[in-house]
């Protein structure tokens, strides 16, 4: 690919949104058309009608958005108190955060909430740039135990205690 083409694609990366909408539309339409409507039809409007409308809407929006992007339209990235839009996007941090989150999903079963929750907070704080070897894990542990206590014991929302709570 030539440099010019790559730059063009980067400037028009919003076309990817359009493609995703298109894909979603096709998915919704296929699902709606393969529904077994006759068996379950009750009343004039069956279970497939609204999905068909939504699917067609997705296709239409995908095309309109692509047209808008090609005519120079741009979605404005959202600002915020801690958001610096002038700096280039730091996708590595995002990936590491997503990874920590997945790790939590895997570990909550075997380790229980207090341990896996503390690990999630610690890992996320580290990825986001906190470098206090003592303070970080301490805050993580206290926060996780407190949350476990409030939710599991006080509010009656069950969280798995895991082996640690079995010992204590």
């Amino acid at each position: 690919m030539t440099g010019g083409a790559r730059a063009w694609l980067r400037a028009h990366s919003e076309l990817g949104v359009s493609a995703l909408l298109l894909l979603l539309g096709v998915l919704v339409l296929t699902d709606a058309l393969t529904l077994d409507v006759d068996v379950a039809a009750r009343g004039p409007v069956g279970p497939a009608t609204v999905p068909l409308v939504v699917g067609c809407g997705l296709l239409a929006v995908a095309v309109l958005l692509a047209a808008d992007v090609l005519h120079g339209g741009r979605g404005e990235a959202e600002g915020g108190e801690d958001v610096d839009l002038d700096a280039p996007a730091d996708w590595r941090t995002v990936l590491l955060l997503a990874g920590s989150f997945l790790g939590f999903a895997v570990l909550i079963g075997p380790l229980g909430f207090p341990v896996s929750g503390a690990l999630l907070f610690w890992a996320a704080a580290y990825v986001l740039g906190s470098r206090h070897p003592a303070r970080d894990p301490l805050i993580a542990a206290v926060l996780s135990l407190l949350t476990y206590g409030v939710f599991d014991r006080l509010l009656g929302v069950p969280l798995p205690g895991g082996p640690l709570m079995g010992v204590l």
């Binding site: 919003e14 949104v17 909408l21 979603l24 919704v28 699902d31 709606a32 529904l35 379950a40 009750r42 009343g43 004039p44 409007v45 069956g46 279970p47 609204v50 999905p51 939504v54 809407g57 997705l58 958005l65 339209g73 741009r74 979605g75 404005e76 990235a77 915020g80 108190e81 801690d82 958001v83 839009l85 700096a87 996007a89 730091d90 941090t93 955060l97 997503a98 920590s100 989150f101 997945l102 939590f104 999903a105 909550i108 909430f113 999630l120 907070f121 610690w122 996320a124 580290y126 986001l128 740039g129 906190s130 926060l143 949350t147 939710f151 006080l154 509010l155 929302v157 069950p158 969280l159």
Partner: protein, 495 residues
């Protein structure tokens, strides 16, 4: 008169020790969350949705209402001292409040904002007491076509009034509607978009969508663009006002609510437009017009009062019609659904204790907030120094707790992450998040009303427009849709 008696009963509910405790917890959490940069009230309420699994509804909604108002109070502290408004409603507060803080008048700016919120909230809630039962009584006979029309209005309004690009708003709405379709069809039990998965047959829980879009999406988006050097908040003392300040602010405080309240009540009104209108009004009426832009106290008082009143207006349409007009109201509606309660005209008949307890608790919360905010402002301001890694790690942590509490399944965490990545992409490409959330929450209900209406009319499309109410609402929808064309035509004639 009748609503006054109901309100008194409501105070009976709100002033029980337990509910008073929830109100206090709500306003404390709300103020903290409002002051904390990066967390808006919608994210706060979304993160707290899991408490609905353990609390009875009255206590939960009293707490949510406290958070809503508290976050508004706290939000102005951030904009005045840090000049970086996190919420669009607080942008105006920064325009005059921050210059005041720079000139050493931060204490006065905070006081003008806090008392403004108090007056606006009080007047707004009084209007809510007066109006809500009337609206509910008018709307009590409305049927399926009318409900459908209202939901269509909500869809159109959030996509075309808010945000800079209609097409992106519609895209977001359709994404939300698609997520709402996943699961078993409510009328026939057919599987839609489940791809044979048992977990998906139950649908994607609204809590997961709200937490994913508002909390995970936001945290990841900020992580991608984290400002390495956060702005330094200006130091501030205890808020107070001199007599001259009071002379300049009492009229703006009283004017604000009458701009804020109506805008809060209409779909997609929100607080942005009324705060801006209140600002422009005060600028025009002020005797100190030259001070505007350099720290005019009227420019803080009026808009802040309008912002709180618009929150009360939001509650009118949410409680009486089941129509969420802001992100917070949308998440609160999701909380109602968690309890199996349908907000709408019948809510006042079926759940009087809940509704009036909630409304009475707004008055209680307002008094608590004023008491908390005036003397403690310097303490709250310390929250602005929280290290950002802890703040955003904490958001991820509580989002994980919330999603896991839904069903105790690790798979929900994966779904949450996917929805969060969707929210990240939406923020990157300027798709507003609110239409998607409204689509998930109202979509299934709208489909049910549509099918019910067409069942009654035996499939004839006229069944959708056979009441004066629905025709009126569709007329408003058409007006909204045609507005850009209309405006263009007017502009052409003028030029």
């Amino acid at each position: 008169m009748e609503s006054l008696t109901s309100l008194m009963d409501g105070f009976g509910t709100a002033l029980t020790p337990v509910n008073l405790l929830w109100a206090a917890v709500g306003v404390l959490l709300g103020t903290a969350i409002g002051v904390l940069p990066g967390i808006g009230p919608a994210m706060a309420v979304a993160l707290l949705l899991p408490v609905t699994y353990g609390l009875e509804p009255t206590g939960a909604f009293i707490m949510f209402a406290g958070i809503y108002y508290g976050a508004m109070f706290g939000g102005s502290t951030t904009s005045i001292l840090l000049n970086t408004p996190g919420e669009s409603a607080a942008v105006v507060a920064a325009m005059e409040g921050h210059p005041m803080a720079k000139a050493g008048r931060g204490a006065q700016a905070l006081a003008a904002a806090a008392i403004g919120h108090f007056t606006g909230g009080m007047i707004g809630t009084l209007l809510l007491v007066a109006l809500a039962p009337v609206v509910a009584a008018l709307a009590v006979d409305i049927g399926a076509p009318d409900y459908l029309a209202l939901m269509v209005l909500a869809f159109i309004a959030v996509t075309s009034v808010l945000g800079s690009s209609r097409i992106r708003g519609v895209a977001s709405l359709l994404i939300g509607l698609t997520i709402g379709l996943v699961g078993l069809d409510q009328l026939t039990g057919q599987q839609r978009l489940t791809f044979g998965s048992l977990q998906l047959a139950d649908g994607i829980d609204v809590v997961i969508v709200a937490v994913g879009l508002f909390a995970i999406g936001e945290a990841l988006w900020v992580a991608a663009h984290l400002r390495r050097t956060s702005g330094r908040p200006l130091p501030v003392g205890r808020p107070w006002l001199a007599r001259e300040d009071v002379r300049r602010t009492w009229k703006p405080w009283l004017r604000g609510p009458f701009i804020g309240f109506p805008f809060g009540a209409i779909p997609a009104g929100g607080a942005e437009i009324p705060t801006f209108l209140a600002y422009v009004t005060e600028k025009r009426l002020s005797k100190h017009r030259d001070e505007f832009g350099k720290g005019a106290i009227e420019g803080v008082a009026g808009p802040e009062s309008a912002a709180s009143a618009s929150a009360a207006g939001t509650l009118v349409s949410m409680l009486t019609l089941g129509l969420p007009t802001t992100a917070v109201a949308a998440v609160m509606l999701a909380a109602f659904q968690q309890y199996g309660i349908q907000p709408g005209p019948l809510l006042f008949e079926r759940e009087p204790e809940l509704v009036w307890g909630l409304i009475a608790s707004l008055f209680v919360g307002m008094v608590l907030l004023l008491a908390l905010n005036l003397p403690l402002a310097p303490v709250w301001a310390k929250l602005l120094r929280i290290p950002r890694p802890y703040l955003y790690a904490g958001i991820l942590f509580f989002a994980a707790v919330g999603a896991y509490a839904v069903g105790g399944e690790a798979l929900d965490l994966v779904v949450l992450l996917i929805v969060g990545l969707l929210g990240l992409g939406m923020r990157r490409y300027g798709l507003p998040v609110l239409p998607a959330v409204i689509g998930v929450i109202l979509g299934p209900a709208a489909e049910q009303q549509l099918r019910r209406a067409l069942q009654i009319s035996d499939g004839s499309l006229t069944g959708l427009v056979n009441t004066p109410f629905s025709v009126t609402v569709y007329a408003v929808v058409l007006l909204l849709l045609g507005w850009p064309l209309l405006r263009k035509a007017v502009a052409r004639r003028a030029s």
